[in-house]
Symmetry: D2
Subunit: 149 residues, 4 copies
Amino acid sequence: MTSPTAAPDTAALHARIQDSFDRSGLMLHLGARLGDVAPGRTHIHLPYSATLTQHLGYFHAGATTSIADAAGGFAGMTLAPLGHTVLSVEFKINMLAPARGESLEAVGRVIRSGRTLTVVQVDVYALNADEKTPIALMQQTLINLPEPA
Amino acid sequence: MTSPTAAPDTAALHARIQDSFDRSGLMLHLGARLGDVAPGRTHIHLPYSATLTQHLGYFHAGATTSIADAAGGFAGMTLAPLGHTVLSVEFKINMLAPARGESLEAVGRVIRSGRTLTVVQVDVYALNADEKTPIALMQQTLINLPEPA
Amino acid sequence: MTSPTAAPDTAALHARIQDSFDRSGLMLHLGARLGDVAPGRTHIHLPYSATLTQHLGYFHAGATTSIADAAGGFAGMTLAPLGHTVLSVEFKINMLAPARGESLEAVGRVIRSGRTLTVVQVDVYALNADEKTPIALMQQTLINLPEPA
Amino acid sequence: MTSPTAAPDTAALHARIQDSFDRSGLMLHLGARLGDVAPGRTHIHLPYSATLTQHLGYFHAGATTSIADAAGGFAGMTLAPLGHTVLSVEFKINMLAPARGESLEAVGRVIRSGRTLTVVQVDVYALNADEKTPIALMQQTLINLPEPA
């Protein structure tokens, strides 16, 4: 028997995050897919589509940022007590290289988990055949809140 | 007759930005619409849709950020010489309030336009009936580049 | 007679901020001076000195940032209930122009004051004879905390 | 014989950065000391002093940020061609924990070095007896410029 705030096992953790992911209309609309989930870490994948581009045909920084923000938020959510959720307070993202590739992968990792605030770092990679190129780096602040009834 | 780098008149400027906007697959996919365009300032509107939400049903920070990044980038583009384009180097955004409303409006304004780098500030508002509530604030750095042939 | 959390009058507000300012060893060590204080707004002045420079002889970004962070923090503190203080959660600053001048002036203005978090914008100017040039722009997040006993 | 832009050896690299450090009035005034220097990485140490504090007696975020900005800038400078220098375009810093300790150590590491822009990450630690606690995390953008004559 586990206490309600104990760290859930991996499958339960993935299911919990998948449930929030599936309620995120934007993630589905962009064609994003939840990848690995571990305590303090979440991956999101985004296959290329012409519906995700900026005026030069690369992934739009808004698409890159959307999965980065989500990967960071879900990474924070893996550490939040049950019955709590997290919201983005703010984030900053640097574009490191043109976001060109067959897909993007965002990996959010919690750097510091506090009672109220959580700091997360997110790496975004472009994937092409065998190559994995870092294309963006985000530093994000989350706030823990009781989930609305 | 105007020199190629002269400030274009308002209609020409709007047409130039609209052209880039229409080539941004993400803006169309999100249902965003280009609003006012003036030298150093651009507005983008985003009507609410269930395809734009996070897990609590508000606009996803990724949607808010996508139109903020685009409004900032196009604001910078209004001041770039013809034949040049701009790319986002980085930005930081604070969420000021839940992004709830019938639509969002992002207003990008150039703060400093340099030869290589441009600094832009973007306000995002949620619109509800007669109310216009600030919901996000972005500070963005752009780089000016010759447009690829 | 005022309630303990009522907005203090201007002189009392200035005295309250001046008291915190005077306990900030770094502000005194840099030679900074508290300027105007109003609800949600604080000014700090920093005269040029060779002790404040980077390797090219301008004001070091660390000096610029120190007074920007302080002006933002004190602006937030003007709106905090008595018995509370504020700490910087994070900030982002853009350098807009070389920080050259007889002095710098940082002006912090609260953009959104919440129960837990406050968002502040800070403009920093370089002053030379009659000129006042914007040289930096900061966006800052503060957290309100009960003042330690 | 080395070409003017060849990677200098370690001692020469340290001497080059030390020279710029020693011309940074602010670093000397704060009592900071240059530590390890390697290609793409620089350490700066800052012993505690009452001249570096905020109103609660901890290291002021301005002091933390000053050595973080410098460690990041010098990390970028290690990769700049001879005859070039770097300036901070912007940075964002999160405070992870109260900056309490006998000294701070900032470690700047280049994440991406481009022709014009360099992206750096900086970790700041508080040191106490045997403990080394992360207290701040910075993400910084630098611009490479020809050194003024």
